[in-house]
């Protein structure tokens, strides 16, 4: 690599001065994402406003051998948008146009910097919405959602981002611009959209994304049930699943996260509950009414201390506000926290929660649980104080034990946050060297110089390798 001043000359032919950030104060906000324990200083941050500028930047990086990281709003919880030390950050927030919204075809074509919620907002006048709803949906961008196959509370019925992307135009890491997928729900040929979504930025940068929109359900019924123990709430989930109902969402919050959410947004959750289960039904009015009847029967037989039904949209929103604000609310209980998002088979939820409780006590660290129970997707928030020597390391060790437990129970190390930089070391616990070899070959087929989001996903290679910062 050449020295900085002369190296950046090439970027100056692409961008006006004010859209290349190089000063320490300008770079600081880009040094980490929502995984705050990791920081790295990029050489520069560029702020493209057009697809052509992104393409030119990627080609320049390829020519010069400079690693780059594409970044949306930096909400990644796995360090997915952590810069590469001395690399380039391509900040895509200005590429935020909704290029087309076609209600009759039920699609939206958007640039990567469009915030998730903006799509639903734009679609709302037509009675449509974009289904994936990560908790950070007000700020997180579609580009980031595509890179990490983001989920949300409503995955249970509608799936994750991958289930809602129809077509992608992308610039691969060596500068070639490719298009794949189409506007139809159906396709022929290998599912290329399927492999691109969730590739964590290792193939290149999505420039234009065609999303599938859904008609907004006619009716919602949101039920909140309080329990004396977390395990009881987990048991109730198993019963609802077994009953043959398919709710839009099924979420659990434990005592610690309830207290935090209550303090932060006053969601009106029951004060004395050890756990709260939120179940949301959605669909046609008469169907939802019939399902509600069955659901209440199941819930009442699961030993709740209290059952509430949101009586209007305002109450429903209040329930969800508390749930979606839970991470940041729990953050207020502690100077620092780590969030894991391992998955366990749904029938092993109770076992997993007991084990987390045991580990929490063993490590002397508080763990708050707020999670997508219907999917078996845990979200233990491990509270620690980074100023206390050794506490971060202890928190990381505890997180590692939780991940191993998930793998051991037949689950996954991540349901929706991705591997990023945080869980690199654990990928090899889920996959064999042969599995990883194919994934690496795929990566190199798109990015022979391994520039795009270098250092993410893959564990550092056993032999003196090229991957890893």
């Amino acid at each position: 690599m050449r020295r900085a001043p002369d190296l950046l000359e090439g970027l100056r032919s692409i961008y006006p001065r004010e859209r290349i950030l190089t000063g320490p104060a300008e770079l600081a906000p880009y040094e980490s994402d929502a995984l705050t324990g990791f920081r790295a200083r990029p050489r520069a941050v560029v702020l493209p406003e057009t697809q052509d500028e992104v393409i030119a930047t990627v080609r320049w990086c390829y020519r010069e051998g400079v690693p780059f990281v594409a970044r949306g709003s930096g909400t990644s919880l796995s360090g997915g948008s952590l810069p590469v030390e001395d690399g380039i950050v391509i900040a895509l927030n200005r590429l935020n146009r909704i290029l087309r919204l076609d209600p009759e075809e039920r699609i939206a074509v958007v640039e990567p910097g469009v915030p998730n919620l903006e799509v639903s907002r734009a679609a709302a006048p037509y009675g449509l919405y974009y289904a994936p709803d990560p908790s950070s949906q007000a700020v997180c961008t579609i580009g980031g959602n595509v890179a990490f196959n983001s989920g949300g509370a409503h995955c249970l019925k509608y799936g994750m981002t991958a289930n809602h992307v129809l077509a992608i135009q992308a610039v691969l890491a060596d500068g070639e611009v490719v298009r794949f997928g189409g506007e139809s729900l159906e396709g022929v040929g290998p599912d290329l959209v399927g492999i691109f979504v969730g590739s964590e930025g290792l193939f290149g940068i999505a420039l234009e994304i065609t999303l599938r929109l859904l008609p907004r359900p006619e009716a919602y019924r949101t039920v909140l049930a309080a329990y004396r123990s977390l395990e009881q709430a987990g048991e109730a989930v198993a019963r609802v699943v077994a009953s043959g109902l398919l709710p839009g969402a099924m979420e659990i919050m434990d005592r610690l996260s309830l207290e935090a959410a209550e303090a932060a947004v006053g969601a009106g959750y029951p004060r004395d509950a050890a756990a709260v289960l939120i179940v949301e039904l959605e669909g046609e009015e008469p169907e939802v009414e019939a399902e509600l009847h069955h659901l209440l029967e199941v819930i009442r037989n699961s030993g709740p201390t209290e059952v509430r039904i949101a009586k209007d949209e305002a109450e429903r929103q209040k329930i969800w506000k508390g749930r979606k604000g839970a991470f940041s609310a729990v953050g207020r209980l502690s100077p620092d926290y780590l969030v894991q998002d391992g998955v366990v088979p749904r029938t092993k939820l109770g076992q997993a929660l007991r084990e987390i409780e045991r580990l929490s006590a063993a490590y002397g660290l508080r763990v708050a649980n707020v999670f997508h129970a219907g999917d078996g997707n845990l979200h233990p928030l491990i509270l620690y104080d980074g100023r206390t020597t050794g506490e971060l390391e202890r928190a990381e060790a505890l997180a590692g034990e939780i991940l191993r437990m998930c793998v051991h129970l037949g689950g996954s190390i991540t349901g929706e946050h991705g591997v990023g930089v945080e869980k690199r070391a654990f990928l090899a616990e889920m996959f064999t060297e042969a599995d990883l070899a194919v994934m690496r070959r795929l990566r190199r087929a798109m990015d022979p110089r391994e520039l795009a989001n270098r250092g993410k996903v893959f564990p550092p290679e056993p032999v003196a390798g090229t991957v890893g910062a």
């Binding site: 189409g182 043959g244 046609e284 088979p345 087929a445």
Partner: protein, 362 residues
């Protein structure tokens, strides 16, 4: 070497690995229900996977199962049905003997794909032998998983060109307790299409919306027994015009028939054409003029076209309309028709998974 007309029937994974390493050109086959996709060109060895059949793991409470790739879809459906569960994407040709692996490799979904998503949305995990002979696992056994690249989805529609599928994991859903189907007859295609578009953007939870040209609409409702009557009435009011309601066995049989393509005349190929509702009219004009038997499924997102065996004219028509096609039933040879976007990206994927081109090209 791959002797002409050779067919091998391995019964263990190491045998598959050895075959992949030794042969030059291979075509995996499951149930052979889609001859246009499973009949080899000369000097290609057919890898008959029929020994790889059987469910490995099914816990009804988990709503997932893992099975060997050549397990017949029917067998799985019976197993799930006993627990009130189902594969919501209506895998086509199940009654004819289609297998899980063949369904994934061909990327085919049936009418209820409209409501629940396609085969791509239900496959969670895969084990396959890649072009280098290595056994590779992707995805997992849980319903939500973002670890590693999504190889299970990549296999959907891959036509056996990226690897030999050995084992698959799917998620399943609880089956609706009751069904009803509304048949609406419109005098002209345009009227039926208008109703289809209205249905697509309505808030109704419809399981399937099919259009049988020129003007017959089939709309399927599924859900709780006690709400079905009210929902059917609401839908009839919304549709206006002459409609009739089908229930019970007759209703089931109707959709079973659609999944089996029982309407395709003998001596015809069957081609799947992904389309969008708005582009349907142009396609319909061309197909009506050619007199091709056809049916539009998935709310106007999938056209099934029966065509006399020479596909050259259909290919040209699709090119002109900017559409792609996949020949499913019919003679081997031409599998992909029309225009397909994604070749540049697909070539790179192929290079990574099958660097020596053992599983054919294009």
């Amino acid at each position: 070497m791959s002797p002409v007309g050779e067919l091998v029937r391995p019964s263990t994974v190491p045998e598959i690995q050895e075959i992949v390493r030794e042969r030059r050109s291979l075509l995996p086959r499951g149930g052979g229900t889609k001859p246009a996709l499973s009949t080899p060109a000369s000097e290609t060895t057919v890898l008959d996977l029929s020994q790889f059949s059987g469910v490995l793991e099914y816990d009804p409470a988990e709503f997932t199962f893992t099975a060997l790739a050549a397990t017949p879809v029917r067998e799985v459906e019976r197993m799930l049905g006993a627990h009130g569960q189902f594969l919501p994407f209506d895998p086509p040709l199940a009654a004819s003997g289609a297998t899980l692996g063949g369904t994934v490799a061909s990327g085919l979904s049936g009418p209820r794909r409209y409501r629940y998503g396609g085969v791509r949305d239900f496959v969670l995990g895969v084990r396959f032998v890649d072009g280098t002979g290595a056994v590779v696992r992707g995805g997992g056994r849980v319903v939500k998983n973002a670890a590693g690249f999504d190889l299970p989805k990549l296999m959907v529609g891959s036509l056996g060109q990226l690897g030999v599928l050995v084992e698959l994991t799917f998620k399943v859903f609880p089956a609706p307790r009751a069904h009803a189907t509304i048949r609406g007859v419109r005098a002209r295609f345009e009227e039926a299409l208008r109703d289809l578009l209205r249905l697509n953007t309505s808030g109704f939870d419809l399981e399937a919306v099919d259009l049988e040209p020129p003007g017959v609409l089939w709309v399927r409702l599924g859900g709780q027994e006690e709400s079905l009557e009210v929902r059917t009435k609401r839908l009839m009011a919304f549709l206006e015009g002459p409609v009739e309601v089908l229930r019970g066995e007759e209703e089931q049989a109707l959709w079973e028939g659609a999944r089996e393509f029982s309407w395709v005349p003998a001596g015809h190929a069957l081609v799947k054409v992904p389309v969008t509702p708005r582009r349907l009219a142009a396609l319909e004009t061309r197909l009506a003029r050619a007199g091709a038997p056809r049916r539009y499924s998935v709310g106007g997102n999938c056209a099934w076209v029966a065509w006399p065996l020479d596909l050259a004219l259909l290919h040209r028509t699709l090119v002109e309309l900017g559409l792609a096609g996949l020949c499913v039933l019919g003679p081997p040879g031409r599998r992909m028709l029309g225009e397909w976007e994604g070749e540049a990206f697909a070539r790179r994927v192929k290079q990574a998974l099958d660097p020596q081109g053992k599983f054919g090209v294009g």
